[in-house]
Point group: C2
Chain length 511, copies 2
């Protein structure tokens, strides 16, 4: 077998059985190997950003890495987002043949240099016989705790020359753990001053079980439990403990945090503003507030929370039941509130919500706390164009779950090519586009950074009109049925149909 085949077989044997691809010439042997090796599902994307984002969404839902197959074109924005989400991904990037690189042909570039800012692990295979072992090392790196972006660069001749066979991927014998001393410290703080203590959670603490443990701890001690502003994945909906998040807007975050004298971090970070603004703080906690890390990304936060609950004698009967507003289908005009209500009513059992709603969705959390149980995925890196690819990958990972992608019109246009892949693969993704014809987030940020009142030319750089985008036409062009809605009743109807039907659908919400 050649190097390419040794790699594909190693991947499949190592449990990596999905490859999101956007291949070029230097990847043709890998593509050929896909035919020879059963067990690898290949999903084609029309742009690298679709591929890398899909691998992120796949990992968040599946918990094990997919691979990507890329040809120079970086798709780096979505790798940045994936890295911040602590997703594990095995990227395979073709390079010129080892003997050809020095001749500076047009497609020659510094791929390692490009990969390093976004990948925790980067390696170039030196020859065909090394490829399998390098692939196994990449898988192991992707699977580590916390997971990593692993980029393996394959010169074309390492793919076509003879290899020795496959390599075995080391199985992680080490289970993620936690520090008993850190748990003890947290217990002490909660014993001492729970009324002024914030338990700030993210990552693996946000499973249904992790949240239930925090609910007991809050019920027993009276502390506050909150999430960071953004999470890779959070269990939500009926039957799950519903927590608030630190608001994005600094003026809203500061009063919420100001009375805490202690923040106990469960994989989270010391609260920081998303951006700096003139005359506003970068760090959001009150002066004199102490920060204590109980677990870091990659540790076993559920086990730590169990130990903490045990230390506090917090049990199921300590839980204070939560009240949620009733679900009620809205009627009348489409606005942020009615949109939120309509979506909350429409979420089916076990849905996956991929949220790039930006400004439109700032009020989505309260009404959806009462929805059917679901998972909520957000952008961890801030680079927009994250959601349609992540929704694509999540749907590949969980074919029996409905994926609902909620995205602003500006954000949608970065990686709109995702829709074609959804049609190609028959994925159960409903894409809801909020068409307000403006990068509304930037309109707010313009004010927030103290830039004054935008004149005509500045407005032209913020508005997405002249012409208005027709997302139904765009979706149709890529094989996805779609419709536009202008009232709450139309939106309810479109949501119900899209959720009931298999395959991809798009709904343009004209605001």
């Amino acid at each position: 077998m050649n190097g390419a085949e040794s790699l594909v077989r190693t991947l499949v044997a190592g449990g990596v059985d999905v490859c999101f691809t956007n291949p070029g010439t230097s990847e043709m042997h890998f593509v050929a190997a896909l035919d020879k090796v059963p067990g690898m599902r290949c999903v084609l994307g029309l742009f690298e950003g679709v591929v890398t984002g899909a691998a992120d969404g796949y990992f968040r839902m599946k918990g094990t890495p997919a691979s990507t197959l890329l040809h120079l074109g970086p798709g780096l924005a979505n790798l940045h987002n994936a890295k911040k989400a602590h997703s594990g991904i095995v990227n395979i990037v073709g390079q010129h043949a080892t003997y050809h690189i020095g001749y500076n042909a047009p497609l020659t570039s510094d791929i390692e240099g490009l990969a390093r800012p976004m990948s925790s692990w980067v390696r170039t295979s030196p020859d065909a016989k090394s490829v399998a072992a390098d692939g196994a090392a990449a898988i192991a790196a992707a699977r580590s705790a916390p997971p990593q972006i692993a980029t393996l660069i394959l010169p074309a001749d390492t793919a076509w020359n003879e290899a020795d066979g496959i390599a075995e991927t080391p199985v992680d014998t080490q289970r993620p753990s936690y520090s008993p001393q850190a748990v003890e410290r947290a217990a002490k703080i909660l014993h001492g001053d729970a009324a002024h203590t914030l338990l700030l959670v993210t990552g693996s603490a946000l499973t249904e079980q992790g949240l239930a443990l925090t609910e007991r701890i809050a019920g027993k001690t009276g502390c506050t439990v909150m999430g960071q502003t953004y999470h890779p994945r959070m269990a939500r909906g009926r039957g799950r403990f519903s927590i608030n998040r630190i608001p994005y807007v600094i003026e809203q975050a500061l009063p919420i945090l100001k009375n805490f004298r202690h923040i106990v971090l469960v994989e989270a970070n010391d609260p920081v503003a998303f951006f700096a603004y003139p005359n506003k703080p970068s760090m959001l906690k009150a002066e004199g507030c102490e920060v204590h890390r109980m677990t870091a990304w990659g540790e076993n936060s559920v086990a730590a929370l169990e130990a903490l609950a045990g230390a506090l004698h917090a049990a199921a009967h300590d839980v204070k039941p939560q009240q949620h507003q009733e679900l009620a289908k809205p009627t009348g005009a489409l606005n942020h509130a009615s949109i939120a209500q309509a979506i909350a009513c429409a979420i089916p059992e076990n849905a996956i919500m991929v949220d790039e709603s930006v400004t439109t969705g700032r009020g989505f959390f309260p009404p959806t706390a009462a929805s059917a149980p679901h998972d909520w995925l957000q952008n961890m890196g801030g680079s927009i164009g994250f959601s349609t690819p992540v929704a694509t990958g999540a749907a590949v990972a969980c074919p029996d779950r409905k994926v609902i992608c909620m995205v602003g019109d500006g954000s949608a246009m970065y990686t709109i090519q995702s829709l074609w892949t959804q049609a190609r693969e028959g994925l159960n993704v409903v894409t809801i586009v909020f068409a307000n014809r403006i990068y509304q987030i930037l309109r707010g940020e313009f004010d927030g950074v103290g830039a004054g009142e935008p004149g005509k030319r500045a407005q032209d750089m913020l508005k997405i009109d002249r012409p208005t985008l027709d997302f139904v036409a765009l979706a149709r062009g890529m094989g996805v049925p779609g419709r536009a809605v202008t009232t709450a009743d139309e939106f309810n109807k479109a949501l119900a149909e899209a959720v009931a039907e298999p395959g991809p659908r798009l709904i343009e919400v004209q605001m």
Copy 2:
């Protein structure tokens, strides 16, 4: 004025009066400054790859750099292409405020690390008072010989804090020159063995004037003049000296080059294969063939060719007139030959042809040699998705010239968002999409790299069908009128109308 305004004013004063933008929060002060400072035209793109490619196309046609305004998301693929095209671009990329970077907020990334592989000049402004001078230095770098990609990173506070005023951009007092010794050497070779000498030209030699000089030299000495496979810009059509190019396919290139004992390089490189293939050579010249560089990128090749013609006493009367096939509108089915004929007939006076036709367009050069005079632009970096953005930038640079973009369906999908910017700005761009529903280049490459016969799954990674893309719907979704054609007669008609009408148009050629 704040740092952002000092930069905008410096750019305009320094002759950079176009900015292709895809701004984010950290660029809001720059956007605000655009309102305050007359003279800067701002063009919005929906994706970074549109922005960076537009700046490439703008430079190629205008000869002076545009600026781009970016927010993290790299658009690196088209910067790679621009760098290989030796285009000068001033990229302005926002970064977190200087005091905020260390807090590792979500959008924090190593922008310098990302920029370096694609930029010859990278600088992060340390404070607001430095911004203007850094901007002037970036312009000077972009304008150097050869031109460079200059990336200036602006922490947000350098934009909002007070500056001192604008900075003057140094004017290049040094005119590009050439080496008289190198010209002498070339003259000697042509005196000695012109019949076995190839004059291999690109870059600034490809103006109408430069080509006319090579035509005299060829007529006088009997040497061969050829171009590299790809060029940033070549003057072509009636009245211009028509030269062949080294073919992309190695089996075609080798016999063409095998009888040359000398290759004189006029900005070109020692001929190298685009990719390595098993058992095929990387370098394409015959064994024993000597390579002599007369000029490098950035030197004054037209002056060198004038000196060379003088040394050889090659005059206008030495020119051997060329015969070209007559233009004839095709009829019947659409195939590579009839498509080429239809386009050749339709090219209007002084058009700009942006060529990402890949496999469909391999035969475009012979028939278009007889077309109305035009410029031909190709991809220098091999990263596809180059043409619709470059066409956009070229149209902004030359509003009185019709731009015709010829692009394969696979390539078109990388940066299809360009169409919206063309509609936004009312650009005179006709986009012709060759819809053969396959990455045909890869189908050939699959064979070329010796990967065997593609089975079903490999074919799935090469074909762009299930579903077929509807480019007319996609174009309509972005405000560009379009139509699909299935016969040569329909294509002729669609071309004539699209060329005659102002504003952007799309023609989907169903093959």
